[in-house]
């Protein structure tokens, strides 16, 4: 259908056609309509002071980590503590919209290879400076060798109106483990598109968490495929949205082999006119027996005009499985509020306590205590600014 539509300014400048709501996957995020600015790939010089200030604004600034700094899509050799590495030229899921935009933008980034247990987390801080409606393309690969383990943080901060398109590939060898934490706290005017593509060999383990609180428009895709048995994945996320923010997460978890476990937990807080969307699909292929797959998405709407849409999907072709999903949407529980107030806690405090507890349940999936604390602090700050 979209081929018949005239190109928009954004499509012209990006050199791609954007999907609209007629496409099932983009039903609630009509990219063609929502991306209006003529974002284009360009070289934007940044001032040192701006870079340093933005890097310091990462919610994880206090976490002891090795840092890689990406400024306007370009690896900053001076500030980075790790080398870039070589990125494989092959792009997976080439027909995916976000991967496609990345290719058009000639996205670059770093390649992280972990052979043993990394002692410190690696934080990749993505900084966008200066408006200029630039389109930033980023592409990273993370590979973890057999029985190795690593913690990788991806942080997105910035100022002004820009588009950030990022693709991260994760490949885990047998028994490998990665804890990936992403904080999307982009400029409130920005558009953030991302796709994380992960493959897990036997007994590998993925712990993935995403905080979504920045950007005006967010679309974050995740595609996870189990390639070996007894692997285990947990994908969690928290939305803290306000104003007219729009955030859409679409996850596809593909149980292609037996005996794997997947867990998804999303806690979405929407205030003002914000709109949160969660689409999760669990596929269990024929013969993927003994699959254990569960997903849950919970939405807390703090204002009458806030909105939440969900599509938790199961596609199951094997019988000996335990799969399920749960989804809820609503405002703060009135019984909870009454109980707290009956114990003497005034309404605003009671609200904050309950919201923080609601959002924080997803933080609990993170093992690194320091990172967890940083996220709690971020949530507290967000609540205080409400």
């Amino acid at each position: 259908m979209s081929a018949l539509l005239p190109r928009t300014a954004a499509e012209d400048s990006l050199g791609v056609s954007l999907p609209n709501r007629r496409s099932e996957e983009w039903k609630w995020t009509d990219l063609r309509r929502l991306v209006t600015a003529p974002y284009a790939r360009k070289i934007v010089a940044a001032r040192d002071a701006d870079i340093d200030r933005l890097v310091a604004s990462s919610p994880f600034a206090s976490v002891k980590a090795k840092r890689i700094i990406i400024v306007n899509g370009v690896y900053d050799a001076k500030r980075s503590q790790l080398p870039r590495g070589e990125i494989n030229a092959v792009v997976p899921l080439a027909d995916d919209v976000i991967v496609g935009i990345g290719s058009k933008l000639e996205a670059s980034g770093v390649s992280l290879v972990f052979d043993g247990n990394a002692d410190l987390p690696v934080e990749i801080v993505h900084v966008a400076t200066g408006a200029a409606q630039q389109a930033i393309g980023v592409r990273h690969t993370i590979s973890v060798a057999a029985n190795a383990a690593a913690t990788v943080i991806e942080t997105f901060v910035g100022e002004g109106d820009y588009l950030c398109n990022t693709v991260t590939e994760i490949s885990l060898a047998e028994g490998a483990r990665v804890d990936r934490i992403k904080a999307e706290v982009e400029s409130p005017e920005a558009t953030h598109l991302s796709h994380v593509i992960a493959t897990l060999a036997a007994t590998a383990m993925l712990r993935d968490f995403t905080l979504t609180s920045g950007a005006a428009l967010n679309r974050q895709n995740g595609t996870l495929t189990f390639l070996g048995e007894n692997a285990d994945a947990q994908i969690a996320g928290t939305y803290l949205l306000k104003g007219r923010q729009h955030a859409d997460t679409r996850l596809v978890v593909d149980h292609a082999v037996p005996h794997c476990t997947s867990r998804e937990l999303f806690k979405c807080v929407m205030d003002d006119n914000a709109r949160g969307i969660f689409q999760g699909k669990v596929i269990v292929r024929p013969d993927a027996q003994k699959t254990d797959g569960k997903q849950s998405s919970h939405a807390l709407l703090l204002s009458e005009a806030a909105e939440f849409d969900a599509k938790p999907e199961l596609e199951i072709y094997a019988d000996d499985v335990v799969c399920g999903h749960g989804a809820t949407a609503g405002d703060l529980n009135h019984d909870h509020m009454f109980y707290l107030k009956s114990r003497g806690i005034p309404e605003p405090d009671a609200k904050s306590l309950l919201i923080a507890a609601f959002a924080g349940e997803a933080f609990e999936t993170i093992e690194h205590e320091g990172i967890r604390e940083c996220l709690s602090a971020y949530a507290e700050g967000w609540l205080a600014r409400r």
């Binding site: 019984d335 909870h336 009454f338 114990r343 003497g344 309950l354």
Partner: protein, 251 residues
């Protein structure tokens, strides 16, 4: 301390009255038991005293320490010293019991113009009270009432009461769902809080609890009104004869 005068209450979205002119006076140091058949309005009374939404007072007044209680928000009532031990304590995921107690205690202290309690003082304050009520450290770390057994929930309610030190305690069917050992622990916890400047209203269907928490007065609530008042022996009489005399036949 508490003066309830000709109280009429209905549910906000129904026309049927639940309390139909209830009058009750409670002085400091007294323990009053309110007994009555199911549907007589016992729980409604507890919710109206603590300020739950959904109830509408159509007539009458409730004065607490000389102040109009009905004009206050639930948290203001708590700060003034009203405490309700819930029949069905609410589960709150994600909020640790210890954190909850601390926030509640300090919110009340702040409202009363007192200084917040320091963390070490608070720990001490909770620790021995918890031990007396058989509340483990593990329970204190867990989210409020989440995954607690029936007995644990009731013990946790009494612990909150002990920690917050209210001046009026309303116990709504605190005995329901408890076995005899759990009942004893809870009753001992309540008795330990009896003091000349603290009043209690014990709402119960059965006399059993009153063997342990001996009341000064017993009231029979039937069809939204107190229809009889007596001493502790009235509870025994009810146990023997049942509520048959007090159950209003539905028209």
């Amino acid at each position: 301390m508490l003066e309830i005068n000709n109280l009429h209450v209905k549910l906000e979205d129904e026309s049927r009255e639940i309390l139909k002119g209830l009058t009750l006076s409670v002085k400091p140091g007294e323990v009053h038991a309110i007994m009555g058949p199911n549907g007589s309005g016992k729980s409604t009374l507890s919710y109206v005293l603590s300020g739950r939404e959904g109830y509408e007072v159509t007539e009458g007044s409730v004065t607490f320490k000389g102040e109009d209680l009905l004009a206050l928000e639930p948290d203001q009532r708590a700060a003034k010293g009203v405490f309700l031990a819930f029949q069905y304590p609410i589960e709150i995921p994600g909020v640790a019991t210890m954190q909850f107690l601390k926030v509640a205690l300090n919110a009340q202290r702040k409202a009363r113009g007192q200084k917040e309690m320091s963390a070490p003082d608070f720990m001490r304050h909770v620790k021995d009270r918890a031990a007396r009520l058989n509340v483990s450290q593990d329970m204190l770390r867990r989210p409020v009432n989440v995954g607690f057994s029936g007995g644990e929930k009731k013990r946790a309610e009494i612990l909150q009461m002990a920690v917050l030190e209210p001046s009026l305690c309303v116990l709504d069917e605190t005995d329901s769902g408890l076995d005899i050992d759990a009942l004893r622990v809870v009753a001992e916890g309540v008795n330990a809080l009896r003091s000349p400047d603290r009043a209690m209203i014990v709402i119960t269907h059965y006399q059993r609890l009153l063997d342990y928490i001996v009341p000064d007065k017993v009231h029979v609530l039937s069809d939204g009104k107190i229809v009889r008042t007596g001493g502790k022996e009235l509870a025994l009489e009810l146990e023997e004869k049942g509520y048959a005399d007090y159950v209003v036949k539905a028209a």
